[in-house]
């Protein structure tokens, strides 16, 4: 295979909260190849958003800090760049869209202004050309009446339209990598499907790679080439999408799959994983999932399992497999 576009090695992003160290991201490895759609999946609080914000270097300061690791983008370590250099990459070569389409757009600026300003920042074009390009992008992401919408404000649009605007904005400079942090979570199901289709269209059109963050395995099944399962700041399983669904190895991934509601069997009670994610400021020494794992053994509590290759391209952090 070709060289990875993005390669995260042993990334650790910690917060300090009330004098305690919160290990939000605790040694993540992740590769994204050109044109690939990688899904990061895991329950809320497992460190997915902080991973993506670390790549963009948008970690809330001064509470959060990247303490270790490398983030190689086309071979350059983003963590070694200064603020000016990283801002040249943001919105240009790596773009990001967020979960909350309601609050992620600036309420007092027009849609056209917000899309064109990213072009004005990274391309040397006139304001008029940038606005024309904004209209094109809006038409491309399927926004009706694009010519009028550019003069409107976010509050005049529905949630689905706003998320399309966010996508148009993120794709305006045709980035090599798009990071989408739960872009469909706030939307209803039909709109959700349309947005996922749109993301695939983006990948095909611009040959962009996509890192899609979600806690919804339905989304993963729909879109992923490769899946990374995160739990308590770590990767617990990583494989191509088919292996994750057909040949599930980690007990946590199995539990996640068991908790998807399926259409065929109508269960009375929806299965959900018992217990909660351990507190990131107080992780156990052994396996972090042990407290909720059905297959737990005494050895699991004593030593943290390593992430190891079980089959070619299939990584698992569990010593029982």
């Amino acid at each position: 295979m070709s060289e990875p576009l993005l390669s995260i090695r042993n990334l650790k992003t910690y917060f300090s909260r009330k004098g305690k160290e919160v290990r939000a991201v605790d040694g993540i490895d992740l590769d994204v190849f050109p044109g690939q759609i990688v899904c990061i999946v895991g329950e809320s609080g497992s460190g997915k958003s902080i991973t993506s914000l670390s790549v963009m270097q948008l970690i809330p300061k001064p509470a959060g800090k990247i303490v270790d690791g490398e983030i190689l983008f086309e071979g350059t370590d983003l963590l070694k760049l200064n603020e000016r250099q990283i801002s040249d990459i943001r919105g240009n070569e790596i773009s990001m869209i967020f979960q909350e389409p309601m609050t992620s757009l600036n309420p007092v600026l027009t849609i056209g202004d917000q899309i064109s300003e990213v072009l004005l920042r990274h391309r040397s074009i006139t304001k008029r050309k940038a606005l024309e390009r904004a209209v094109e992008m809006l038409q491309f992401v399927g926004v009706p009446r694009a010519n009028e919408i550019i003069k409107e404000y976010p509050h005049q649009l529905s949630g689905g339209l706003r998320q399309r605007v966010m996508i148009a904005m993120a794709m305006a400079c045709e980035p090599k990598l798009l990071i989408a942090d739960e872009p469909t979570t706030a939307l209803d199901v039909t709109i959700q499907a349309q947005v996922l289709e749109l993301m695939k269209k983006m990948r095909d059109q611009f040959n962009s790679s996509i890192v899609m963050i979600t806690h919804d395995l339905g989304v993963v099944a729909e879109i992923a080439d490769h899946v990374v399962v995160m739990y308590a700041g770590q990767v617990v399983e990583s494989a191509d999408a088919d292996s994750i669904f057909e040949d599930t190895l980690h007990p946590y991934t199995q539990a996640l799959l068991a908790s998807i509601p399926s259409i065929e069997e109508t269960k009375d009670v929806l299965y959900s994983i018992p217990g909660t994610v351990p507190d990131a400021s107080d992780f156990p020494i052994g396996c972090r999932f042990a407290g909720r794992c059905e297959k737990v053994q005494s050895s699991c509590l004593e030593k943290m399992p390593e992430l190891r290759v079980v089959k070619p391209g299939h990584f698992v952090r569990c010593d029982l497999v």
Binding site: M56, P60, R90, F98, T103, S104, N106, L109, R121
Partner: protein, 305 residues
Amino acid sequence: MFSYILRRCIYAIFVLLGVATVAFFIARLTGDPVAIMLPPDATVEQMNHLRAQLGMDKPLVVQYGMFIWDLVHFNMGESIRYGEPTLSLITERLPATLELAGASLIIALIVAIPAGIISAIKRGTWFDRLVMSVVLIGQSMPVFWVGILLILLFSVTWRLLPTGGIGGWEHLIMPAFALGLHMMALITRLLRSSLIEALSSDYIRTARAKGLFPRKVIGKHALRNSLLPVVTIVGLQIGALLGGSVVTEVVFAWPGVGQMIIQAINNRDFALVQTAIILLAGIFVIINLIVDLLYVVIDPRIQYK
């Protein structure tokens, strides 16, 4: 929009009538003007005669009725002291008061906006702490005290500025600063906190994710959103500014409406007091309307119907 303005104007008429009523009764609590207009040895007949001349022999309710009747016909009465129409007496003095209030507003904004922005960006640093301490002091010093302190320092000790009176900028700077200090402190604190809030919002994260320069992120994306509460407070504080101008004008012998009101109260010149208060209230009402219309310019989510 037009019907909104019309409704606001009708509403303003009622506000002004209310203000007029309060001014009418409060003025009469100050005492009997006849007693100070005549020499101490005047007879009761002489006093009654003057009272009748001034229309003050009638019951209070009748006097009030006549006052309102005159008012709605834009007849503001004559000063019993100067024997001239009160309206022209006050409009003569109004430019001086507006000059003072305007200058203090400008000084307040010129200092407060950069101070608020920089302390929000550099929150927690020594600069921020210094600004916030100055703000606290500024907010707790009464205007007359600041005025006297300034006169002591700049006029008496260092002999740099005149103690009072009207003239060039050297006359204006001290009273304008004293009057504006409160507003300056308030705007700094408010702008700082609302900018800090804006800077932690999702759309700022989006703006930074676009690679925009900090200057754009703060100046374009955050500042406009944090201006709304500031504009509200500026509008409301203009009332306090007009009130404060009364004290400031007395301390600095500034020949404005405020000083005239104090003299009129001492003279029990009811008509003059009433007209001055109604006029100042009118200015306040107009400024508030302008502020409300400014919201629409700043925040497209606000619309008046």
